[in-house]
């Protein structure tokens, strides 16, 4: 978490655009375009956490989904380790999927309820040929579960047997088991209660530091963002309105929208009696 400025960019996004065609709003109106992401440029450097922060509908999640090819980019480029991933065919992109992994918000919806934790964690290992047999897979699963603070004995259990916080740990284990280079975390702790959120945030930060991960951390929660980021980009209506080191954004915000966002957060202070 030191001197991220001197490090080289792992992901370099230039003028990214993702437009959606939306249906007619009236009988005589033409189909219109929703410019969800409209010319966004940033880089995520080796071993740093860049946060994308903004309110619902600002396009921050669409950026993450476009970079993992869950949405199609309308324009721009995104160089990962020197290769433009937006120009790749899905087949060509597949080997890179191991290196670019995503953690989602909803730990209830993102685990298959009919697969045990062992099956859930083994599948990506076999797909990406990181394990040749079950014995190899199992030893990696044990190691990863320990890494995310879970007892490896839970392997035989199913998602419904776990609380929200534990499910999110499993979600993180599924990502970490692939030893990715870039993790895109989309509101990864937003659905959790504050005491559990703190546990999972500490875990994410520790894994990031221990493994020198690069992370694109997408969140609406400025407190969480301050805790985990090295640099912050503030998005508003599909564009980045301000980007800088964490201290600059939080101590000396320049853009009106950033200031308004910071001023809106309820502070723990006593109400005048």
């Amino acid at each position: 978490m030191t001197q991220a400025t001197s490090k080289r960019a792992l992901l370099d996004v230039r003028d990214l655009k993702t437009y959606f065609t939306i249906g007619k709003t009236g009988l005589f109106q033409a189909k219109s375009q929703l410019k969800a992401v409209d010319g966004v440029s940033f880089e995520v450097r080796e071993g740093e956490v860049l946060s994308l922060v903004g309110e619902s509908g600002c396009g921050k999640s669409t950026v993450g989904r476009t970079l993992t090819q869950l949405e199609r980019a309308t324009g721009g480029r995104a160089d990962f380790d020197g290769q433009d991933i937006l120009a790749m065919s899905p087949r060509a992109f597949r080997p890179l999927r191991r290196q670019i992994q995503m953690i989602f918000q909803d730990p209830f919806a993102s685990l298959n309820p009919r697969r045990s934790i062992e099956q859930t964690l083994a599948e990506p290992l076999f797909i990406h040929k990181l394990a040749r047999n079950w014995a190899e897979a199992r030893s990696k699963i044990v190691e990863t579960l320990e890494q995310v603070g879970m007892d490896p004995k839970v392997m035989q259990r199913y998602p419904h047997e776990f609380s929200g916080g534990q499910r999110q740990r499993i979600g993180i284990a599924r990502v970490m088991i692939l030893k990715p280079r870039l993790v895109i975390a989309d509101e990864a702790v937003s659905a959790l209660d504050v005491s559990i959120q703190a546990q999972v945030l500490n875990l994410l930060k520790k894994l990031q530091q221990d493994n020198g991960l690069s992370m694109l951390f997408i969140s609406h929660d400025l407190g969480v963002v301050r805790h985990i980021s090295d640099r912050v980009a503030v998005m508003y209506k599909g564009r980045i309105v301000e980007m800088g080191d964490k201290s600059q954004i939080f101590e000396n915000p320049q853009h009106d929208y950033t200031r308004r966002l910071l001023a809106s957060i309820p502070r723990i202070a006593q109400k005048a009696a």
Binding site: D193, V194, I196, A198
Partner: protein
């Protein structure tokens, strides 16, 4: 006499022929013109407490198993369902967390406000419509004469929550219960909605119960705070007292868990472990498995709720007997 007096409220859930207690021994008062905050994590019983007060537990696995609720001098539990329904939506109203699911998608928003007015006030359709427009204007919906004919899907999340507030305020309730009213909203909209509620309170003197998991929201809006853990009040006090003199390890842990925006912290002081399940039997203090100050007696005997000073109630065996600067244990 306070407007609302809740005494020893108990709610149970019927599972497999047994009734397990999920809310126990809840007592508090809410005065006119006052905002009471109820704070706690999911599953601590804060929403069940509000549903019990509103009389909305019937028809589910949940039931009121004990206690009394007195509103405006009347014993609510002694009233016939019909008499109680006349109070609901009129003198007592509720705002729910998710404005999209609590508004009917196939009716115009104006008609949904008018329904309550026609039900409780013998207004003509024309009078009720005029009042609905007034209410939409009051909650700062732009262009209310046109918006009154909008459907819920044509409004933004913040606007829908304002419509919910307008519906709740339609009959000028004495008590408004807001269950996580801003949790689904963006921070800038959250601030507008909370300011609006407090502004309306100033003008009408409505008592508010604000349920939230967010200590920031609670500290900025409430006069008194009740902290719940696993169905019981673990600490309650005036807001100023609570935030200057937090005494329960759970309340302290909740505060320490919040990543703050105003300065940097390397590691958050997370509360270890998790909230116990409802069928887990804990003979002592329900928080002791997660508490870094727990002693042997905490596991065996349940603490009683005692006043440590005027109006400051704490349910802990060792409320003042801990090393200073008490924090919940760290977790990495």
């Amino acid at each position: 006499m306070a407007l609302l007096e809740v005494r020893d409220l108990e709610v149970g859930v019927a599972i497999g022929g047994k009734v397990l207690p999920v809310v126990q021994g809840i007592s508090f008062d809410v005065e006119e013109n006052q905002t009471l905050g109820i704070v706690g994590e999911s599953g601590c019983g804060k929403s069940l407490t509000s549903l019990a007060i509103m009389g909305l537990l019937e028809g589910s696995m949940l039931r009121l198993t004990g206690g009394s609720i007195s509103f405006n001098g009347q014993d609510l539990l002694a009233l016939s369902p019909r008499a109680r329904r006349a109070i609901m939506g009129d003198q007592m109203a509720m705002i729910f967390q998710e404005p999209m699911t609590s508004l009917n998608p196939v009716y115009r928003i104006g008609d949904q406000i008018i329904e309550s007015l026609r039900q409780h006030r013998s207004m003509s359709q024309r009078q009720a419509r005029a009042r609905a427009i007034e209410l939409l204007d009051l909650v700062r919906i732009p262009d209310p004469e046109r918006r009154v004919d909008s459907y819920p899907h044509q409004l933004s999340g913040g606007q829908r929550q304002r419509v919910m507030i307008a519906m709740a305020l339609a009959c000028g309730p004495k008590l408004l219960i807001a269950d996580e009213p801003t949790t689904a909203l963006d921070v800038t909209v959250q601030k507008e909605v909370l300011d609006l509620m407090l502004d309306l309170q100033k003008r009408t003197g409505t008592a508010i119960i604000l349920i939230s998991h967010d200590l920031g929201v609670i500290s900025e809006t409430c006069d008194k705070v009740v902290v719940m853990y696993r169905g019981k009040i673990v600490e309650s006090a005036k807001t100023a007292t609570l935030f200057s003199n937090m005494s329960h390890p759970y309340t302290q842990g909740l505060l320490a868990s919040i990543p703050v925006v105003d300065h940097d912290v390397e590691w958050l002081n997370a509360i270890p472990g998790r909230v116990p399940l409802i069928d887990e039997v804990l003979p002592g203090c329900a928080f002791h498995p997660r508490c870094s100050f727990a002693q042997a007696s905490c596991a065996t005997s349940p603490p009683s709720a005692d006043y440590v000073s005027d109006d400051h109630l704490v349910r802990c065996h060792f409320p003042n007997d801990r090393p200073s600067g008490g924090e919940a244990g760290g977790d990495a």
